[in-house]
């Protein structure tokens, strides 16, 4: 089948302070053929949205090639339309005017513009809302306007950047099935779709192929073809198999890396720490310890039961792995001995376990504590550690690591932090 889009060896970096560069996308390859829905699945920070902006011609890569139907992409391409996560509707334009905006840019005669806009509004199910302003609509209806606005220009490629993630569960499902149905009936004037998501089930439900992205830097780690007829049934065993398989692939890589760091016995404080609150950790430990899991669970199962998305579950599971409260293996998560004791303990015992685990397993808080112990005044400014971290990692990663450590250390009562003065200290407020 004809290739709509070709992405070869694309690399994208962002400039950072001090003349350094942050690598966001590295050697990414992707083709979109006619009649396909391709999903880009990965955690936040894996550069999926960046890739989408490159495809739309909204920014330029530092290396590699992108071509749309054989011609290189050098700027915004007519024939590639985008649907945004936050809808990106113009609040001062009515539904009709929002939908027409793309047609105005094409300089069409007013009659034709109106007819096409009304047809798109009709197709997407917005009849009767033509004169409403976006603020008068619910989230679901707003995103329908986003779809209508993209569809009305009859693009060959539709790009969707997490289009359902700002919607509640029911609305999102309603919109997904509507879209899949329109696509299946061949009613959409579109030849191919690229869908960015971090929701595994959404990817399996809608896509023909799913590309799994790894993060920091973003790379295509593997590709999974979903050979299921539409409409797909979420409860069918085949569907669940695909979901499981993707979970295993996504956890395996990350856990592998973390285990490497741990077995190397690294003492580097520059370990990226994703912000997860002690409450989230406690919550997941408790859920794991309780029946029906009794200490061991399938990741997709517990994610579903706890209503956690991949983006929420993985960081917590990783933090538990880091603190040696749990072991993540394949698609499973299992409480360690210490994890079980944590689950059984009272608050003070939990704090103590947490504190000991921090000191022996996470280099950064142990380092901060040591510095505070050694100083006569028992305090130190945040910048002291921030500068130290920034020698090894990006500024925002350093900020996030410190933020995480502050939240963990507060729970563990390891040291305290005064945000007003940006000072770490040993003294607890009296």
């Amino acid at each position: 089948m004809a290739e709509l889009l070709n992405v070869e060896h694309v690399r994208r970096t962002f400039p950072r302070g001090g003349g350094e560069e942050l690598l966001v996308l590295d050697d990414v390859n992707l083709t979109l053929r006619e009649g396909e829905i391709v999903g880009l699945l990965g955690r936040s920070g894996s550069g999926k949205s960046t890739l989408l902006r490159l495809i739309a011609g909204l920014s330029q890569p530092q290396g590699g090639n992108l071509s749309y139907m054989g011609t290189p992409i050098q700027g915004p391409v007519q024939g590639v339309a985008m649907v945004f996560q936050s809808f990106a509707l113009f609040p001062w334009l009515t539904v009709l005017e929002n939908v027409q905006l793309g047609l105005e840019a094409l300089n069409l005669p007013p009659r034709e513009m109106r007819e096409r806009a009304l047809a798109a509004i009709d197709l997407i199910g917005l009849d009767g809302y033509e004169s409403a302003y976006p603020r008068e609509l619910s989230g679901g209806m707003r995103q329908r306007v986003g779809f209508a606005r993209a569809v009305v220009v009859h693009p060959n490629i539709l790009l969707m950047d997490e289009p359902f993630s700002a919607l509640d569960v029911l609305t999102a499902e309603n919109l997904r099935t509507d879209l899949v149905e329109l696509w299946g009936n061949g009613k959409l004037p579109i030849k191919g779709i690229i869908l960015v998501t971090h929701n595994i089930e959404e990817a399996v439900l809608m896509c023909d192929r799913v590309l799994l992205f790894s993060s920091n830097p973003g790379r295509v780690a593997s590709e999974i073809r979903i050979d299921l007829p539409q409409p797909r049934d979420r409860t069918s065993p085949a569907f669940e198999d695909y979901v499981d398989r993707i979970y295993v692939e996504m956890t395996a890589r990350r856990v592998e890396r973390m285990r490497q760091i741990q077995t190397q016995g690294t003492t580097s404080i520059a370990m990226p720490l994703v912000h997860v609150s002690p409450n989230q950790i406690s919550g997941l430990v408790e859920a794991l310890a309780a029946p029906p899991y009794n200490g061991k669970a399938d990741l997709p199962d517990i994610a579903y039961e706890q209503e956690l998305e991949v983006d929420e579950l993985f960081p917590v599971a990783e933090a538990m792995q880091l603190l040696r409260l749990a072991d993540v293996e394949g698609g499973d998560i299992k409480l360690t001995h210490m994890g079980k004791r944590f689950a059984d303990g009272e608050l003070n015992e939990r704090k103590e376990i947490f504190s000991r685990s921090l000191m022996s397993n996470v280099p950064l808080p142990a380092h901060i504590r040591k510095v505070l112990d050694e100083r006569a005044s028992h305090n130190a400014p945040k910048t002291r550690f921030l500068d130290e971290l920034e020698d090894h990692m990006a500024e925002d990663a350093a900020e996030e690591a410190l933020k995480t450590v502050v939240s963990w250390a507060r729970f563990a009562e390891l040291f305290s932090y005064d945000d007003d003065a940006a000072m770490f200290s040993l003294e607890n407020p009296t």
Partner: protein
């Protein structure tokens, strides 16, 4: 606005002459007045430099810390994207000396929590009816006060002033109104596109925004002598060339409000416009101008208010022995003050107040509400 307005009139009122009474307080305003009388350009530059330094110190030690500190009172649980920062505030916060010095006040505050205001057996209006009655009483009181003031003004003025004087003042008021409107329009035409351009470029915004705010805080009347000396030198028409002085200081409000507006425009919205090929005039008309409109209106209201203030000083300006007059209500008030003609001062001020209120009610307020309702990005 208020700070620069404050500086503006503080410097002016330091050296004031009403009729034959000359008052000069020691200060930068008197310095300028003397420099103008002596045609001393270097002295004027010195004054400008001194003022710049004062404002800079003032900004760094007082206002920046205040803004950064006030950030903690935002009703919002999330940390804001870019928190205002102030090195001075960090110093204050970490200082043990300050801690020690403020301890007694902290204790005093604690006592004050338990103070009860003396009760007169009154209670706050809780029912609709009560507040309606209070409203009516309040408006009646205001009406009576207004009538009384009008009566006093009439009694004060009608001995020496004919109705034709009112006609003159109103006529001059229209001239000044024209001047204010035309100059705000010109300033808008220049600064709106510039503001949008700057606001969409974060790095440029970081440089330009503080400069624009700084310029707006600067009492621009210190710059008047420079312009006036040129008008005198080249013998230009004061009716036209004194006019720009009116917006010299206040134009920056338009600029920095538009910059603020453009920089708050969500990235996705800009991406959407670009993705759908919205360019050129279509982009300005449907995307950029609506997005900054509420901010522009806020800026323009402040600018026009400031412009009326400035007209009193800008329409009459001197350089050495030469005094330039433009026709307008500001010059009318200035001249009346200089000759000690109190009746005309009162008349001029009353007419100007009337103009300002009417323009606010029939132009700016409706525009403001319209902008808030239709164009505010939420």
């Amino acid at each position: 606005m208020s700070m620069s307005g404050g500086w503006f009139f503080v410097t002016v009122s330091e050296a004031i002459s009403v009729g034959n009474t000359d008052i000069a307080l020691p200060g930068i305003g008197s310095w300028i007045a003397v420099a103008i009388a002596q045609k001393n350009l270097p002295a004027i530059f010195e004054a400008i430099l001194a003022m710049l330094v004062v404002i800079l110190i003032y900004d760094q030690l007082l206002f920046r810390p205040l803004v950064a500190w006030a950030d903690r009172f935002r009703i919002d649980n999330e940390q804001s994207e870019d928190q205002p920062e102030s090195w001075a505030l960090n110093v204050y916060r970490r200082s043990r000396l300050l801690d020690l010095m403020t301890k007694p006040f902290e204790q005093m505050m604690r006592w004050s929590y338990h103070w009860q205001p003396p009760s007169f057996g009154l209670r706050a209006a809780t029912r609709e009816v009560d507040s309606r009655v209070a409203d009516i009483l309040w408006y009646v009181l205001l009406g009576l006060l207004g009538l009384y003031a009008a009566f006093r003004i009439y009694g004060f003025a009608h001995d020496n002033l004919a109705w034709s004087d009112l006609g003159t003042a109103v006529g001059l008021g229209f001239l000044t109104l024209l001047r204010v409107m035309v100059l705000i329009a010109i300033a808008s035409l220049i600064w709106t596109p510039v503001g949008v351009y700057v606001g969409l470029r974060p790095r440029l915004t970081q440089i330009v925004q503080p400069v624009a705010q700084f310029l707006a805080a600067f009492p621009n009347n210190l710059l008047f002598p420079l312009v006036v000396s040129l008008i005198v030198l080249w013998d230009l028409n004061p009716d036209i060339w004194l006019s720009p002085l009116i917006v010299l200081g206040t134009q920056w409000y338009i600029l920095f409000n538009v910059i603020a507006g453009a920089s708050t425009m969500p990235k996705e919205l800009r991406d959407a416009a670009e993705n759908f090929g919205v360019h050129g005039w279509l982009w300005w008309r449907k995307v950029a101008l609506p997005a900054v409109f509420p901010y522009y209106v806020t800026g323009a209201i402040t600018a026009s208010g400031g412009a009326w203030n400035a007209s009193v000083l800008a329409e009459v300006a001197s350089w050495g022995k030469t005094t330039l007059h433009a026709h307008g209500l500001g010059a009318y008030i200035s001249d009346a003050t200089a000759t000690g003609d109190f009746r005309r001062v009162v008349l001029g001020i009353a007419v100007m107040s009337f103009f300002v209120v009417v323009v606010n009610r029939i132009l700016w307020r409706p525009l403001y509400w319209y902008a808030e309702r239709k164009y505010r990005l939420t």
